[in-house]
């Protein structure tokens, strides 16, 4: 969806201001949000794209005025309610009521090193050969879906070149919304600065995105 999260090329946010000797966390609550987010994800009730969609579908004004851990917290609260694990009243009061859903699994403390080290690989067996090969010229499709997508607005309807065939990866656009998992070929597609940003753009810069096969057409 065309929401506030799709930031590439937007203007007016001012310069990047790095913090000198930035700590890993700025408050203890941030640590807990990180940890609960990881542990809740391990319950297996949603995909990484499902929780991304919960974040990016926050109201734009809220998204842009929140820190990233605040965004994570708001999305996690929303997801836990939507998925039937908690109620809004429980979250507001902090008092446990009768809302309950059985998680597929609960991440145990002793499993954490192994689970984090293994991660959740996204490559799958390919159902068909890749449509494009390295060096092919392609054009990204134009679309403005209401649902989750990983094709950024600035790279829609643009001509680029396939630089790498990454593999067959889990497709985010449908998986974010609870559909059964599917996978598509994933490519690194490179665009010139002027193709993306017009004739005044710096011709000595290029930008690549990772694009699933259905985002691409032959050019």
């Amino acid at each position: 969806m065309n929401s506030a999260h799709d930031l590439g090329g937007q203007m007016g946010f001012g310069p990047v201001v790095p913090e000198k000797d930035e700590p890993i966390f700025h408050a203890d609550w941030e640590k807990k949000v990180l940890a609960i987010n990881v542990a809740a994800g391990a319950m297996g009730a949603w995909t990484i794209d499902g929780i991304r969609h919960a974040r990016e579908s926050l109201p734009p004004a809220q998204y842009l005025s929140s820190s990233y851990y605040q965004i994570w917290l708001a999305a996690l609260d929303k997801m836990l309610v939507e998925q039937g694990f908690l109620s809004k009243d429980e979250l507001a009061s902090g008092v446990a009521g009768s809302t309950r859903r059985e998680p597929k699994r609960v991440l145990k403390g002793e499993e954490v090193p192994t689970v984090l080290r293994r991660g959740f690989p996204y490559e799958r067996e390919a159902p068909a050969p890749a449509r494009f090969k390295v060096g092919d010229t392609v054009r990204t499709i134009v679309m403005h879906p209401q649902h989750h997508t990983r094709l950024p607005r600035y790279a829609r309807g643009k001509q680029g070149v396939i630089e790498l065939v990454t593999g067959c990866h889990v497709f985010p656009d449908t998986g974010a919304h609870g559909a059964p998992e599917t996978a598509q070929w994933l490519y690194t597609v490179v665009f010139t600065g002027p193709e993306l940003w017009g004739r005044d753009a710096d011709p000595t810069t290029t930008v690549s995105i990772e694009a699933w096969e259905s985002y691409l057409e032959p050019a």
Binding site: V16, V17, E19, A35, M43, R52, S67, P113, L164, T205
Partner: protein, 210 residues
């Protein structure tokens, strides 16, 4: 900021000691633990992992080894995931890793315009600026201006390649080994490889040796 509290209680969300967001997170944690959705020891283990075990020193070891060992550099270029796994790194937030080697002709810059994708196993958790609108909006449309915000000016004629992390591939920049580091050990080399240089917003300098 409140003191670190590893235990959970049911009453402290109303404690005036906490700011609103602290109270909210405490309430969420209590509910998740009480309903058996999360194991408190898992929360502690996750925090400990990202505070003490995983961080940009991992990535610095990868870069230092690539600088020291041409065969390793070739493996890192061919299959980043396998090459970082040789050093024991990989997993959540970096299941598929691609190493982007800077050259005299081209400098690499990593961004995630859509969220906050970042190579956790080799760089740890991303800094606030990496997740914030100024960087995410500007890096793709004005990469040279973005580098200028970090005080970095590239040599005349060096191109810039920006990598937008729109899938589960995670990128790490391998900066060029600076002159003046001949004969250094891998530990000495690793000491000058900053987090920023592996995102592409910094350059290593021999003067940073520790």
């Amino acid at each position: 900021m409140s003191g670190h509290d590893h235990h959970h209680h049911h009453d402290h969300e109303h404690d005036n000691h906490f700011t609103p967001i602290e109270a909210r997170v405490k309430a969420l944690e209590s509910l998740m633990v009480e309903k058996g959705y999360v194991d408190p020891s898992a929360l502690d283990a996750i925090i400990d992992t990202y505070e003490t075990k995983i961080g940009p020193r991992n990535g610095a070891r990868v870069v230092a080894k690539a600088w020291s060992d041409p065969a390793y550099a070739a493996r890192l270029k061919a299959d980043g995931t396998a090459a970082v796994a040789e050093l024991g790194y990989g997993g959540r937030g970096g299941e598929h890793i691609v190493a982007c080697f800077n050259t005299p002709e081209e400098h690499n810059l990593i961004v995630c315009t859509l969220c906050s994708c970042y190579p956790w196993p080799v760089l740890g958790l991303p800094p606030v600026w990496y997740k914030s609108p100024p960087y995410r909006s500007k890096a793709v449309i004005d990469p040279r201006g973005t580098l200028a915000d970090f005080g970095v000016t590239l040599p005349e004629g060096q191109r810039i390649r920006v990598w937008d992390s729109t899938a589960e591939t995670r990128f790490i920049v391998v900066p060029m080994r600076p002159a003046g580091t001949e004969g250094w050990s891998e530990d000495e080399l690793a000491s000058i490889v900053s987090r920023d240089s592996m995102i592409g917003v910094g350059l290593p300098s021999p003067e940073d040796r520790s």
